[in-house]
Symmetry: C2
């Protein structure tokens, strides 16, 4: 019976070009014991959408799973498989107080209230820029996390893209950094931030429209204590965003923060990222907090490859897309890169075999 | 004024042979704004004890800090420095519910109650084996963490050393793994576990006296889904314990867990460990949760190098020693090592310039 997991993993590997193993099939079967919602299955199994999708389709083909009303159910054959192989159900012990982050978003109620109040008029996430905003609880927790690592107060902070999350805004609203520079390609986010800075008289923060394919001007190189970004999970995008972020750091002890998901990339990909961070850029990883970043559902979900490859037509009804929160620190001899990214490379920034939500 | 931080960092680097930077001095000054207890300063500053100690001594020499009744206080000159350099006080947003782990230890009350009840007669931690047990909350949280990552139920689990923490016992008590093998050099821990297994009729768990310097017998190689260990933080010990643990793993997707502290090693050391994990052993890091493991004070503290190098004679009055919890996963082509560790090497397992608590 264990052979069938191998067969399904191999079939899904062929179809997706993502390396999958029986353990990945087990995790789908663990999830299916507690939910019939495909998007929760993706969440619980920590797999890229195309991988979770093809494994589900394999299970359907083999008669272990059936689709009813756009939901997935284990068949009797499937229940027998689970029983015979002794595959346990998915369990969740996430702390309800801090949502599993280790830091509760309400640790500073004032920051949370101010942010939620100001963010209510935020621009909508749009597909053109791979946007999908994190929850306000996530954004405020990021700020608290920086503060707890002494990366907020009196620091020069660079926020690179993903300002639909309003992380740069939340950082600046505390009034604690020395300087906040927010770069984003989306004019709407830039205008939104700058209007608030002007209204509130915050004069040490500034948002600038900037295309991160372009090299930074000289004055941003070696100029920041901290960078924050949330890059697409392709190798090229990761290298482009992170390497440029690292180039902006002042020196040893300066830190970078970013989200990295398993919904749009595999652990194989993660290993490549970690190699680049440590070997090529001379960084050390100080934190990896799984599921720290929770993303709100985006209106364009039905247009994504994720929905197209899914085994069901129904979209997500609840938060299902999460990413881990990385903190990295610059070590002796660290070095970034500040090269121009060509247009043809840029298209590949978002699209590859593992990504599907953009 | 910033020059003085550099001077103190350089002086401490010379004295300790640990690479230190102005940011490290800043973190000591951040801690000293909220505590006068040296051991809490170590905790808050995330530095090896000898480093925190030499920086403190440098601050005392320069008149920024004074010692009174074995406690450390910023002098007026010190307060001016902090103000002038705008060094913020240490802040702590740790979730009170889950103690910052993201998983609350009471998520399974039964496991916690059973463990605490049985652990009350545990053998005392002794210096001979570098023991210093984690709190019961830590041990039970480790078990919950494994379970939430599908590394507990129906798994073959190897627990390598540090059984003064009773992690192997707690894992076995759940009754959920397929098999639990506990190895420790301390006869008392072994007897304690086996007596409980016998009393409770747990027949899939076993504790064996084993010196981890020795190679594993053939039947343990490639035999486990999960290993758990808590190695000393020297490069040699780390490689010996972790590489052997990796050799015991069955295949891709198998996982390793271990604690790694910044109280007995620096981030430079961490970077070396991460390089070895990824480049030499073919693993990927999936989690690094800072301060997951909280260690109870050990009775032999006054005999340690930590106490000898400290700028005060007073020992710790509260938990101050913590370590991060790592989860690593085996990737394609992963490989461990199962070599004999020679005696002269073993002495170096515990002792080096950064370690001081053994």
């Amino acid at each position: 019976m264990a052979e069938v997991l191998k067969k399904i993993a191999e079939r899904a590997t062929e179809k997706t070009n993502i390396r999958l193993i029986p353990r990945n099939v087990e995790r789908i079967l663990a999830a299916l014991q507690v939910t019939s919602d495909f998007w929760k299955v993706v969440d619980y199994s920590d797999l890229p959408v195309p991988a979770a999708s093809e494994i589900s389709k394999g299970l359907i083909e083999e008669g272990f799973v059936k689709v009813e009303n756009d939901e997935l159910f284990l068949t009797e054959k499937g229940l027998n498989l689970v029983k015979e192989l002794n595959i346990p159900p998915y369990v969740d012990y996430t702390c309800q107080a801090c949502e599993g982050r280790g830091i509760p978003f309400y640790a500073n109620k004032e920051w949370y209230r101010t942010f939620v109040e100001l963010a209510k008029d935020r621009p909508k996430a749009i597909q053109e820029y791979d946007q999908g905003s994190v929850t306000p609880e996530t954004t405020v927790s990021r700020v608290l996390f920086l503060d707890s690592r002494e990366d907020l107060r009196n620091r020069d902070i660079l926020v690179m893209g993903a300002e639909d999350d309003l992380t740069g805004l939340a950082v600046a609203l505390t009034g604690l950094p020395r300087r906040v520079l927010i770069l984003d390609i989306d004019e709407r986010a830039i205008d939104f931030d700058n209007r608030i800075f002007k209204e509130l008289g915050i004069d040490n923060a500034e948002a600038i429209r900037f295309d991160l394919r372009n090299p930074f001007p000289e004055e941003w190189i070696g100029a920041f204590d901290v960078f924050i970004t949330d890059p697409p999970e392709t190798v090229k995008a990761f290298k482009a965003f992170i390497a440029r972020g690292i180039a902006s750091l002042k020196g040893e002890g300066s830190a970078g923060y970013f989200g990295l998901t398993l919904r749009d990339s595999s652990l194989n990909r993660w290993q490549k990222f970690q190699k680049a961070l440590i070997n090529d850029y001379g960084m050390v990883i100080t934190d990896i907090v799984q599921d720290f970043n929770a993303y709100m559902n985006w209106e364009y979900h039905s247009e994504t490859r994720a929905q197209k490859v899914a085994p069901v037509n129904k979209g997500p009804s609840d938060i299902w897309y999460r990413s881990a929160w990385y903190r990295i620190e610059a070590m002796p001899g660290f070095k970034g890169e500040n090269i121009q990214i060509k247009d043809e490379v840029f298209r590949e920034l978002y699209l590859d075999e593992e990504g599907s939500t953009t």
